[in-house]
Symmetry: C2
Subunit: 360 residues, 2 copies
């Protein structure tokens, strides 16, 4: 087979505010690959099928001298993230042609404080990897679910919701939970887990269509944060015992004001903060001691050793049976990734953003 283009989404420059498609990231087709003859050096060649676009990716678009929980993207190299791929050829003893692989599409994984990628892999049509590990693993699909599911409700976002809730909610029947970005891939599963635990659930999102989805997920009270003041809603519907925080900023302030004694806050993300250049202030942190609140930060991958087996036992059957609702907005082709990244940062996507690249 002759050489084919190996399309790539390249990290081009560190953005100051929102990432700019075509400037922050650039789609490039100059590299080619000979699928039959390219050297594998004991590794395996994968064709990328689906890639995920998630809010946390903004944090990787930084100066590599700044340390954080996820390694920075490297200028001139493909960006990386969660994806699904199929194996085309393999010299690896545990991997064979046709195997499905999911995880971090990067041979460097996602290691905290690592500034050094180990290879040119990532959001590109074809990747050669050397090893399987907890970041990149073979998977089975016994319920025949769409492959994109494995970067959504069965991937990082679903695991984030499940593991964060199990570890930190200490939910008791009859309590009240508030979930920000409650229609998103993480928040919508949190809403459903809270309802399964017998809680009253308040969810916020930014469009009528998202409010409708939160209702379908079982939320008791939904509101549009663009047209209602969070503080007003929580004053009426609270006090709250649990707050699932995906946004920080003013929403967190309102939740602190509306919290019950001994409330648990689950700090999952700060989308309101990612593009501000400097942190959005929280001015009422005193509520934390006044009300004996706990704020619990977590990163999903640090909880995997404790909860991964329980997650795979619990969630896939509920997804297959339709008891857990989830939804995706599918974009087509690597060339859309830059636009999708921006849409996700601005909350303009209508559901879990999935980019479909190829079929098996």
């Amino acid at each position: 087979m002759p050489s084919l283009p190996n399309g790539r989404v390249i990290f081009n420059s560190v953005p100051e505010g929102y990432p700019i498609p075509g400037e922050t990231t650039v789609y490039d087709t100059s590299q080619t690959i000979d699928l039959d003859n390219t050297a594998l050096d004991g590794g395996f060649l994968m064709k990328t099928l689906e890639v995920s676009v998630d809010p946390y990716m903004r944090g990787r678009m930084r100066d590599p001298s700044i340390k954080s929980y996820a390694s920075p993207f490297i200028i001139g190299e493909s960006i990386s993230g969660y994806g699904v791929a199929v194996v085309l050829r393999s010299e690896h003893p545990e991997v064979k042609k046709g195997d499905l692989i999911s995880g971090m599409m990067s041979s460097s994984g996602f290691v905290i404080n690592s500034a050094l990628p180990t290879g040119s892999t990532g959001y590109q049509n074809y990747n050669i990897c050397k090893t399987l590990d907890s970041w990149l693993a073979k998977f089975e699909n016994p319920h025949n679910l769409p492959l994109s599911t494995f970067i959504g409700v069965l991937g990082m976002p679903g695991k984030t919701a499940f593991m964060g809730w199990k570890e930190h909610s200490h939910a008791k029947k009859g309590e009240t939970a508030f979930v920000s970005t409650g229609a998103g891939p993480v928040g919508s599963l949190v809403v459903q887990l809270a309802k399964m635990d017998g809680l009253k659930v308040i969810g916020s999102a930014g469009s009528e269509e998202k409010l409708k989805f939160m209702k379908e997920c079982g939320a008791d009270v939904v509101f549009n944060y663009k047209t209602s003041k969070v503080a007003d809603v929580l004053k009426k519907e609270g006090p709250i015992d649990i707050y699932w925080d995906n946004v920080a900023g003013e929403t967190l302030e309102a939740a602190l004001d509306a919290a019950n004694i001994n409330a648990r806050f689950i700090e999952c993300g700060a989308i309101g903060d990612y593009n501000s250049g400097k942190g959005v202030p929280v001015r009422n942190i005193s509520r934390v001691f006044e009300k004996s609140i706990s704020l619990n930060g977590f990163i999903q991958y640090r909880l995997e050793p404790k909860y991964l087996a329980e997650f795979y036992k619990t969630v896939p059957p509920l997804v297959a049976s339709g008891k857990i609702k989830h939804r995706e907005q599918v974009f087509e082709g690597l060339e859309t990734v830059g636009d999708v990244i921006l849409a996700v940062q601005k909350g303009q996507n209508t559901a879990k953003a999935v980019v479909h690249i190829a079929d098996v």
Copy 2:
């Protein structure tokens, strides 16, 4: 016996910034009391011996329509707080002349969200109370410690340090703890508890003399926050696994930046916030999820059911033997209370502020 003046410290007006002696509080001697004949109505008459001045009192100097963890002071009535008294006369079946009483010198206790005091008791020479409860109780003094000890290292501040540390530190030998206001009545005991647990301890305070006391308490690294930048010290001496927060604001920001993965923050107070009129912002709350930090707010009285017996078993013998160091700055007479309140808010007191009123 003829009527005597019953000196009182009256709450006169809600301050905007720092409390102003003579304006926020006023010392008044217009009320008199006949110790032999005043009606007890089944209660008991106490002579106040010692009263405590503590940072949290600023929060009670508010508009009573604002709810918080401690009931507000009422304009025109005596302020209240922790004290030690001796019983002069009693009609109460469980109380007799000569009994020592400690706790909240107020018949209304300190009930969260309560805006209504039930009687004119508080920081005055003589109080008549009706009942004993968890807020006001008889105590024994088997180690013959100075009575002021029972509003200091054996009172609310000591209990705060002990119970907060036991509940939230999850200290492991070899870890590093940072204690703000480490020379204060709470912080200095935290420093000593952390050393007993085998930790490296960094302490901050605002004078050379306070740094010296932290060293005597065993702190490994001490610094003056007025002349050194917290962020610089923590960068050099951290990362930190535990932060005992008494101040919030910029110090909390620096601690978040210098925290290790899975760090525990114990949110005990926010002296930097009490007099600002509006909350002092925290701009890097994202560190909480990035580093899987937990912020644990608490109020000592809510932990009493769990830890009070252990506290009384553990701490008094260590104080009596000198193994736990503590110190007091003693002021004389109710007329000084307004000035002492201001000094404590500004950190100008040199040790636990105790106001001596009378001897047994």
